[in-house]
């Protein structure tokens, strides 16, 4: 019994290793889970009658696309890199417009109870409209597919930006307002020193939701409007019954969506620079 007092931990060396590197542990667990999912997928789609290819088949079928993302044969026959870039360009334009208009509108709505009461019901209704439902009306109005796609991005991303920004303005602590009242800050001083910095965390929450939604919307919109873009690529592959290509494209869409989200989060942390209390 006495020896047990001095006994070292009997845990196996693997556990000890992970104790030293906790991040590796997380990586290892998710790698195992991924492997498991792929295995199940492979087993499920192993039979010859299966409608969908297994992971091995997908890689075999799309190997050309994977190793060569940069080819450009003109028209819509381009490598996946160019497809994704085309989609990202639309998102960049639409989302930037949504951010600028959304933040301005949000500050306006948040600062005035009157404007808020007037506009909030409209926002609440419009924000629930699915992105694709905007497409026909934008096509009708803009008469062209390219600006219509961008408009869909814009109209999808703007609501969370407006609503979160407005909330940020409304949640501005009374203490900060009092500081500004006592110091008699001018409107501009108030905006730059107090209102805007205090609202930034909310703005970035809105932007993160917005970028996710715009990425969702662009894929759907591109399926309908055609042209170069990851959405139309998927639609094209479906029409050609290239299921493996669809699966590869889906994977890319997911990865890019994740990167976009992380990018906005990174931008947010840059702006806030650890000043959040």
């Amino acid at each position: 019994m006495a020896s047990s007092t001095y006994r070292r931990s009997r845990s196996n060396p693997v556990e000890q290793f992970f104790k030293k590197f906790p991040q590796l542990r997380r990586f290892a667990t998710s790698a195992i889970a991924l492997l498991l999912v792929l295995t199940i997928w492979q087993i499920l789609c192993a039979s010859p009658e299966s409608n969908l290819p297994g992971p091995v088949t997908v890689v075999q079928d799309t190997w050309e696309l994977i190793i060569n993302p940069f080819f450009d044969n003109g028209g819509t026959d381009k490598g996946l890199f160019w497809q994704i870039i085309a989609s990202l360009q639309r998102v960049a334009v639409g989302f930037t417009a949504a951010a600028i208009v959304g933040i301005s509108l949000g500050i306006l709505v948040g600062s005035s109870a009157l404007v808020y009461d007037a506009l909030d019901p409209i926002f609440q209704v419009l924000r629930t409209v699915p992105p694709l439902a905007w497409l026909p009306i934008s096509l009708a109005a803009l008469q062209d597919s390219e600006p219509s796609a961008i408009f869909v991005i814009f109209i999808t991303a703007i609501w969370p930006v407006i609503i979160n920004t407005a909330m940020g303005v409304q949640q501005l602590p009374q203490d900060y307002k009092n500081v500004s009242r006592v110091l008699q800050l001018s409107r501009w001083q108030y905006f730059t020193n107090i209102l805007f910095p205090a609202t930034v965390p909310y703005v970035f929450t809105g932007l993160r939701i917005g970028i996710g939604l715009s990425w969702l919307a662009i894929v759907a919109a591109e399926m309908l409007i055609g042209g170069v873009g990851i959405g139309f690529f998927i639609w094209d592959a479906w029409n050609s019954s290239l299921i493996s290509e669809i699966i590869l494209a889906l994977l890319y869409v997911g990865l890019v969506g994740l990167l976009l989200d992380k990018f906005i989060a990174f931008l947010g942390s840059l702006v806030l620079r650890g000043t959040q209390s």
């Binding site: 006592v182 001018s186 107090i194 650890g274």
Partner: protein, 721 residues
């Protein structure tokens, strides 16, 4: 001053390293205000600077009603004054502060700064907010900078930058200047907030519980710093707090607010403690504990008032009496014996008063206030108190009172510190010599302005040629704290009731130079004080109470019972001390520490013998003359009416008849005190006019007819006699 400077943290940070041969070029100035303009011309110093004029604040309620948060607040603040607002949570202290800040508008009335109405916030009334309100996205320097750059636009950019740096040094935050608020401790954040407020040189500094969230050590340091800064720059400040010691330390006046709704100023307390003050030395000041008690008593009273509203006390009528449940106040002194005996020996029961509660009070003022507000049905009072309350002495509101019975006579003594005995002070003549030659003004303690201790000590001093208003300081200190003050050397002597003089002798702290047997043997000492409207409502109860106390007084005056009474008094709920310490002068020989005989214990504490209980009018008149002599109130032209109303010999006579005691009403015969000056009760004004020492005589008629019934509001009282 020196102590404060050494403690100042700005000395800690920029000290050059010992090995560095080069002196620092830019040594930070500790208090750099002077280097700029002096914003406070001395001419303005005495006038009213901030005036809060009949302010009401009403909040509309969701159900359409309204909540009256503040009611009729009136306050005038001088330039350079430090005011604390104290009260329970929710009493509207912060609302009042916000009204001065301009962040909130009063519903009625207004606040005025330098003759201009406050309509909106401005940097001339900078606020130090409760939770600091630093902008988290700005560094310390930027936070202070925002205020300086926006408020001091008349300065050049360079001057503004210098101001920012000065104030960073002022609060000792040089090393944290580029840190963000979330990197700072609570104390540091508060220092930034104070620096930000001071940097823009506000006319009035408003502090909303500035140290509430800090630990005790940090709080203490910051309090000293703030006090130092305010003192050095003559900052006018209003601070909301609920820390009593903080209020005492920092304030010139403490404004106490009653509970809401309809919160109003319940009392304003002057803190007459000289500056510079230091936290550790403050507590040694003779007035400190008295003032502290005063505030705590007020706050406790407000707490009770809250409960009181929940469960109103219902009068229990029984035994043919209107009310048998009585709350009677007393002060722990030997002469509370009649109340204790009536309770412990069953005299209250015997006369049908089944539920009497004796409430030990903190000070005489607490007793007066308790009776005035109806918290107490009645109380043991110092002899002059019912008269003083009736005529509204010392600027108090008038409360008609009845004193139908004397509870005790004598029992006081004048005690002086041991050191005076060593310098050869033996009698009044020696003491006069000592006082007039003392290098500083001696300080003597009394228990209440209307007490016989005050009046007789003054008479005694004046008879010896000492002007009690000019040659000495007289300070009101509760009896229990007299000895501690004497021991600390903050007072030179005091006049107090038993056992607090005898205890000083027993503990070898002082000696008795005179007892009241030497000054005025048989003077009335304590009376039973009741509100007149209470007596009118409860005549039978009042009579039963007098009879029970008469029986108790008779019991106390039987020499065989004295030891037993001393044992009763010594119990924890009454005087809470060893019985043996009560015996000298009460049940045994009195030792004044000088070997001089002071008369027998039975004569020194008289409760019954020789018509002790009859509230004689001549005695009452003497008290009126003395109160007028010392300027507490004008001598009432209608003194006969005043005495008839207060000293109800008729009620006493009725009780005595029912007890089967001989009814001998004391007449208006002349008597004299130890100095032989004859007091003829028929010529009080002539008596007053012959004294060379005293305030100029004023004679006025006292209106006793249209006195408003006292409401629950505690009126502002002044502490000094």
């Amino acid at each position: 001053m020196t102590v404060g400077h050494n403690n100042h943290p700005s000395h800690r940070f920029p000290a050059p390293a010992a090995h560095s041969p080069k002196p620092k070029i830019a040594t930070p100035q500790v208090f750099p205000f002077r280097s700029h303009r002096s914003p406070f011309p001395p001419l303005l110093a005495m006038s009213v600077y901030v005036e809060i004029d009949h302010v009401d604040k009403i909040f509309p309620l969701a159900d359409g009603g309204e909540y009256i948060a503040l009611k009729n607040i009136e306050l005038k603040i001088k330039q350079g004054e430090f005011i604390s607002l104290i009260g329970h949570s929710g009493c509207g202290k912060s609302t009042l502060l916000n009204i001065v800040a301009g962040l909130d508008r009063p519903s009625r009335g207004g606040a005025i700064l330098e003759g201009r109405e406050i309509r909106k916030p401005g940097p001339d009334r900078m606020v130090v907010f409760q939770n600091y309100s630093l902008l988290p996205w700005k560094t310390v320097r930027e936070n202070i900078g925002l205020a300086v750059h926006t408020a001091l636009t008349q300065l050049s950019l360079g001057e503004r930058k210098a101001t920012i740096e000065e104030h960073i040094d002022l609060v000792g935050l040089r090393r944290a200047a580029d840190k963000y608020p979330h990197e700072l401790s609570g104390g540091m954040k508060q220092r930034v907030a104070i620096a930000r407020a001071l940097a823009i040189r506000p006319k009035v500094l408003l502090l909303d519980e500035p140290f509430g969230a800090l630990d005790a050590l940090t709080r203490g340091n910051l309090q000293e710093q703030l006090m130092q800064i305010c003192q050095d720059h003559h900052v006018t400040a209003i601070m909301v707090t609920h820390d009593v010691d903080e209020a005492l330390l920092l304030s010139d006046r403490v404004v106490m607010l009653t509970n809401g709704p309809e919160a109003h100023i319940g009392q304003i307390l002057d803190i007459p403690i000289a500056r510079p003050r230091h936290r550790l030395e403050m507590v040694k000041h003779p007035a400190y504990y008295g003032l502290r008690n005063e505030i705590i008593y007020f706050l406790n009273q407000q707490k009770r008032a809250k409960k009181h509203k929940v469960q109103p006390r219902v009068a229990v009528a029984r035994n043919g009496l209107e009310k048998v449940n009585l709350d009677l106040g007393f002060i722990p002194l030997t002469d509370c014996a009649p109340l204790v005996v009536a309770q412990e020996k069953g005299f209250f029961q015997q006369f049908g008063l089944e539920q009497v509660n004796l409430s030990r009070e903190a000070s005489w003022k607490a007793v007066a206030q308790g009776v005035r507000e109806g918290r107490l049905d009645g109380a043991q009072m110092v002899a002059g108190m019912p008269l003083a309350m009736t005529i509204g002495s010392n600027g108090q509101p008038q409360t008609p009172m009845v004193a139908a019975m004397i509870l005790s006579r004598n029992g006081n003594a004048i005690t002086l510190g041991r050191s005076l005995q060593q310098t050869g002070v033996r009698n009044l003549a020696d003491f006069t010599q000592w006082v007039l030659n003392a290098p500083r003004k001696p300080t003597l303690g009394v228990v209440h302005p209307a007490s016989m201790q005050n009046l007789m000590l003054r008479y005694w001093l004046a008879a010896g040629g000492i002007n009690p208003d000019l040659d000495v300081n007289l300070m009101v200190i509760p009896p229990v704290q007299m000895m501690a003050s004497l021991k600390a050397g903050t007072i030179d002597g005091y006049c107090v009731g038993s056992p607090w003089h005898s205890l000083a002798v027993q503990d070898d702290l002082g000696f008795t130079i005179a007892t009241d047997l030497d000054i005025w043997p048989g003077h009335p000492e304590k009376v039973l004080g009741m509100r007149e409207d209470w007596v009118e409502k409860h005549p039978q109860t009042h009579l039963a109470l007098i009879k029970a106390l008469m029986a108790a007084c008779e019991y106390c005056d039987d020499p065989r019972n004295r030891q037993e009474v001393a044992t009763l008094l010594a119990q924890p709920q009454y005087l809470d001390m060893e019985m043996a310490r009560l015996v000298p002068g009460f049940a045994g020989d009195y030792d004044g520490g000088t070997g001089v005989e002071h008369g027998s214990a039975m004569a020194f504490h008289r409760f019954h013998s020789d018509r002790a209980n009859a509230p004689g009018r001549a005695e009452g008149l003497w008290i009126l003359t003395q109160m007028a002599r010392w300027g507490m109130n004008p001598f009432p032209k209608n003194w006969v009416e005043v005495l008839e109303r207060v000293r109800r010999l008729d009620l006493y006579g009725e009780a005595a008849r029912q007890m089967g005691w001989p009814v001998q009403e004391p007449g208006l015969s002349a008597f004299h005190l130890f100095d032989g000056v004859v007091f003829d009760p028929n010529h009080p004004v002539e008596y007053l006019q012959q004294f060379p020492i005293g305030q100029p005589l004023r004679i006025e008629e006292v209106n006793l007819e249209d006195v408003a019934p006292p409401d629950a509001a505690a009126p502002p009282l002044s502490l000094v006699a």
